[in-house]
């Protein structure tokens, strides 16, 4: 038997690592992956909470998060491809201008 708090702490660690990734990496793809990691950490917390409250709400939220993540990745990667095509770089620091 595992205390739920362990899961929550693990979730917090993963979330922080994801946040760290967003902050330190300049590569748009890796930043994306870090965001996915953060979403996952949140999901883990949701499922853990489901166990505490004995309702389905948490799992259903995870379900929605997955759908949103899929949508986000589709659009995000399309953006990465489009940006790479136009400026041959996916360094997020170089994406500060609004010009294409």
């Amino acid at each position: 038997m595992v205390p739920v708090s362990y899961y929550i702490i693990l979730s917090a660690i993963l979330f922080s690592l994801g946040a760290l990734g967003v902050l330190i990496r300049r590569n748009a793809l890796v930043v994306f992956m870090s965001i996915e990691l953060m979403l996952n950490a949140a999901n883990l917390a949701f499922v853990a909470f489901t166990r505490i409250h004995e309702t389905f709400s948490g799992q259903i939220f995870v379900f929605f998060v997955m759908a949103v993540a899929a949508a986000e990745v589709a659009v995000g990667l399309a953006l990465v491809v489009a940006i790479y095509r136009s400026r041959q770089s996916i360094d997020i620091d170089s994406m500060n201008s609004l010009k294409g």
Partner: protein, 180 residues
């Protein structure tokens, strides 16, 4: 220490290690692969938490679709190696901020949640997907529909975005060639 606790720690170690690995790996392919392992280990956590439907969806959606897309884009654009971008000097502030975040989270967790809630695979009603579906399609019908619309919008958006601009389309296209 029960078997499940051991399993938890092993998996947690894997999850954290792969998350760190993703952060520091130089090749984006390796980053993606680390993340895949991370997702699979998280899926096993879901199994431990009596959420098999979510676990399998996690594998199918995250590991099977999203990360394959990532790999595809990496290989399509040839972005395997973006070297020398991790500068340790600039790392201080992000580290501090992430650390604060972590400490605060852990503190809150410890404060709010009693240690007495234990979980394990019990085969309770929570793992039955048909019950979950019942809730999903009654109480959460509206959000479900909204998600569907969101996915549709995302799909259209992705198609529009990834369509090559007119001028960069292959200029040498002779009369016989046709669109994909």
């Amino acid at each position: 220490m029960s078997l499940e606790l051991v399993l938890f720690f092993v998996l947690a170690a894997i999850a954290i290690a792969t998350a760190v690995g993703m952060l520091i790996s130089r090749s984006t392919v390796y980053a993606a692969l680390h993340l895949v392992v991370n997702f699979v280990s998280v899926a096993i956590f879901y199994l431990l938490l009596d959420a098999p439907f979510i676990a399998l969806s996690q594998v199918a959606v995250y590991a099977g679709a999203i990360m394959v897309l990532f790999l595809f884009v990496i290989m399509l654009l040839g972005l395997e190696n973006i070297a020398g971008e991790l500068e340790w000097k600039k790392l201080l502030w992000p580290l501090v901020m992430a650390g604060i975040l972590l400490v605060e989270g852990v503190f809150l967790v410890l404060q709010r949640i009693g240690q007495n809630v234990y979980v394990g695979t019990t085969g309770t009603a929570l793992s039955d997907p048909s019950l979950m579906a019942r809730v999903l399609f009654t109480d959460y019908m509206l959000p479900f529909q909204v998600t569907a619309v969101l996915l549709l919008v995302a799909m259209i958006g992705a198609i529009v975005l990834s369509k090559p601009e007119k001028k960069s389309a292959t200029p040498l296209k002779p009369d016989g060639a046709k669109e994909a």
